[in-house]
Symmetry: C2
Subunit: 149 residues, 2 copies
């Protein structure tokens, strides 16, 4: 399982997705939680609509999801189906590692098996700071982390 | 990179090693930090000597390390070579996740790239609690987590 807003789909997201596919492996299955518009509204900058973000994600998956299968599901809160679903591993970024740790804590309270946590290190922009949607929105960098100014 | 005392080598350790090998992948390399006797002495129960633990580890590696290569190196403290070495990922248990997070923090301070963190969920014994060397030492469970009493 992996989740995000993916707006726009930048190189950090791609590392997250690529790693999820690699961990699922041949014959594996990846559930991608995509934040709904109402949940994504909590972000500090405008977000494109769910259907638009979903389409961009689907294109990337179609091009890169060779051996594992993928399903996109709407994410209405930080946890989505991760508290109850039967799955093996969650893939997170440095920012969302605490959410994964909390998911395992809550799963344990519900007598569900804990899942493995894979935290990728964030992809850095040319200036050595993280690529983030906020920085792209502000026009500092492009989706590959190249400086725009 | 992965580390531990591995005394005795129980099913939790084996999951840790197996996952490390899988993540390294074909042609990859795994560095296994094995605590030295002086460092392992901080444990609350007696530990077998380094050479004995190393031998058990080597046997397991010889049987399971098919596609990746492995090297055992002595671990004199919590970090070993993980602060300075050029590597991609560290594999930890639930107990040692904070050490991995600290390693990335210290690497960042040293201007080294952060590494991915893979946290496996601990293997449970028959009673639903973690398999641990301490419990095996106390004769509660065997190395596979079966109850001894």
């Amino acid at each position: 399982m992996v989740g995000g807003t993916f707006d726009p789909l930048h190189d950090g997201h791609k590392r997250l997705l690529d790693r999820s596919l690699a961990i699922a492996g041949p014959g594996g299955h990846v559930v991608i939680g995509l934040t709904t518009d109402s949940f994504a509204r909590e972000k500090i900058h405008p977000i494109r609509p769910f259907v638009v973000r979903k389409e961009e994600l689907e294109h990337y998956i179609a091009d890169n999801c060779r051996q594992a299968s993928c399903r996109i599901e709407p994410l209405n809160d930080r946890f989505g189906s991760a508290l109850d679903a039967d799955f093996d591993a969650i893939v997170v970024s440095e920012e969302t590692l605490p959410v994964a740790v909390e998911i395992n804590k809550l799963r344990k309270e519900k007598n569900r098996k804990k899942v493995d946590i894979h935290q990728i290190s964030c992809v850095l922009a040319d200036d050595g700071r993280w690529i983030s949607s906020t920085r792209i929105y502000h026009g500092e960098i492009d989706a590959h982390g190249h400086m725009m100014q």
